[in-house]
Amino acid sequence: MSSWHFGKDISGCGLVGFLQRRGEGVNGGVIIRAICHMDERGNGLGAGFAAYGIYPEYKEFYALHLMYEDMVALSRTESFIQENLHVEHQEQIPHRHLPSIKEHPRLRRYFVRPKRDLSEAQLARGLWVGEDDYMVRIVMTINREIPGAFVVSSGKNMGAFKGVGFPEQMADFFRIEDYDAYLWTAHTRFPTNTPGWWGGAHPFTILDWSIVHNGEISSYGINRRYLEMFGYHCTLQTDTEVVAYLLDLLIRRHGLSKRLACMALSPPLWEEIDRMPEPQRGLCRAIRMVYGSALLNGPFAILFADSHSLVGLNDRIKLRPLVAAVAGDSVYMASEESAIRAICPEPDRVWAPKAGEPVIATLKEYAEDHEDRCQRASL
């Protein structure tokens, strides 16, 4: 038996997420167990969590999670927030002081909504764009114009917690076990092309979209320039950021279904489209032509979420692993089956999703409501 010592760590990012389809809260300890089961996939240079349903007392307000590198950034951002938003409540994001986390940014959260008088004044001048678009502009402005200030998340009744460390360190630091959420995603990072810094850890978010990613977005430059035309500006130095904004653009603003948006991000190859029957072929061609600049090239497995669903998606030739499982009313997705079995030892069904074919899990009440609306639409 030879004893080899590899000169480098052999690894890749790890991700896991689950949705409790009845909307019942699941303690953060569960997602911690799952992501820490894949410690081998990360190298301690980034980890994070997204949690949905954690701020029921402020669920009408956008929860802004902010990261500040210094006091100047903090005071500039707070005056910008005071000027543009009604702040219902604000506080430090609870965290523990750990010997292993020597430096960390200042962390605060604000529960906000656009100022009513502001929106009315803008409405009168025809400038009002709706609360969600207004909040996207707020996030972009903070990220772009205030040095050292970064918005970690900005959705309602959800939040992202992330930083530099292994997942167990970040979980401990952010007291993830203090939260109960019906939808969790988590990530352990092995940075390859971009720096391991607090803002560059996953998840990436905008409004209530969050995304965790294993792989590389080789089309980052194209995607980024495309997004700039719609007012999204990438500031976080990691390719994954484009996916969060693409989801917001395609699904929320352009009204694509999640399935069609996934087709735009990870479309069938042209030769496959040529073999399809109509009208499927026409639809695929249209999506590829209209959204060519939204196509994600390169190897990836991603999990993305909003307040009512969890979606898993692979690149078109499955260059990164993804496994899904169902147990009762819960749906799980992860880089490795063992991470799912660590928290759900006997799932009803386990499968490996196919390349480019999304796994879409939705809250039960949303699924029924959605079906109902679809049926009414077809009548």
Partner: protein
């Protein structure tokens, strides 16, 4: 030797197996395995390992002789560059099963992922064989240089409307054989490959392989063999010989 792997890091688990094997232990029963990587990697000799649970990446990589049974699913990279021995998985397996495999057997009862059997090769009496009871994803046998892959499409959980194999089957293949139970659409085949009917040699070789597979899983070999098989082979052993010669 029985090892409870529950909560055990792969380094500790594999160290225990290697040390015991070195001292002559020839049978291992691993229970509570969940995600531990590199089990039986580079292990040599007459060793039997029974794994209860879900072993992690690169099970049996570089393995030279041992026989491994998995009572559950396996993850990615089963039998990576395996040299000799056998791996039997009573479930499904992930991507890149048998990557660069150069000897031994891998039997998977259920479905497998993408890039299975890529870069397989054979030399003299070394003939690696992978038998897949379920269906396979894209790039099965890509760049295959030798050995044999048998794809049955019978015992997996992929829905019936799914094709037996994905796209680009055997792309770049220049040696070895792939046997398919049933047929696939010609467009799924890599360039320079051809379907051929089985001859007498194929049939007796396949019967031996299927008999062993059926015994491993308690299946009926005659039921597997009653459907016609198709053979996929490269039209020439140097398909790219003139690629750069004008």
């Amino acid at each position: 030797m029985r090892i409870d792997a529950n909560g055990l890091h792969y380094r500790e688990l594999n160290k225990r197996i290697r040390e015991a094997a070195r001292k002559g232990t020839s049978r291992f029963e691993l229970v509570g395995v969940n995600g531990q990587r590199y089990i039986a990697d580079g292990l040599e000799g007459e060793v039997e390992i029974h794994i209860h649970g879900t072993p992690g990446q690169d099970l049996g990589a570089f393995m030279k002789g041992p026989r491994v049974w998995v009572y559950g699913n396996a993850q990615d990279g089963v039998g990576n560059t395996m040299d000799a021995g056998k791996i039997v998985v009573h479930g499904m397996a992930g991507d890149v099963v048998g990557y660069g495999m150069r000897g031994g057997r891998i039997h998977i009862l259920g479905d497998v992922g993408y890039r299975v059997g890529i870069h397989m090769k054979s030399y003299q009496d070394k003939l690696p064989v992978i038998v897949i009871g379920g269906k396979a994803g894209d790039f099965l046998g890509e760049y295959m240089a030798g050995g044999c892959i048998v794809l049955l499409g019978m015992y997996g959980t992929d829905p019936p409307e799914r094709p037996l194999a994905g796209h680009y089957l055997g792309t770049g293949m220049h040696g070895g054989i792939i046997y398919l139970r049933g047929e696939i659409e010609p467009y799924r085949l890599g360039k320079g490959l051809a379907f051929e009917p089985l001859d007498e040699n194929d049939r007796s070789f396949l019967e031996l392989i299927i008999k062993e597979f059926a015994e491993d899983f308690g299946k009926d070999a005659s039921e597997i063999l009653e459907e016609p098989f198709t053979k996929v082979k490269p039209a020439t052993h140097r398909p790219y010989g003139s690629m750069y010669a004008y």
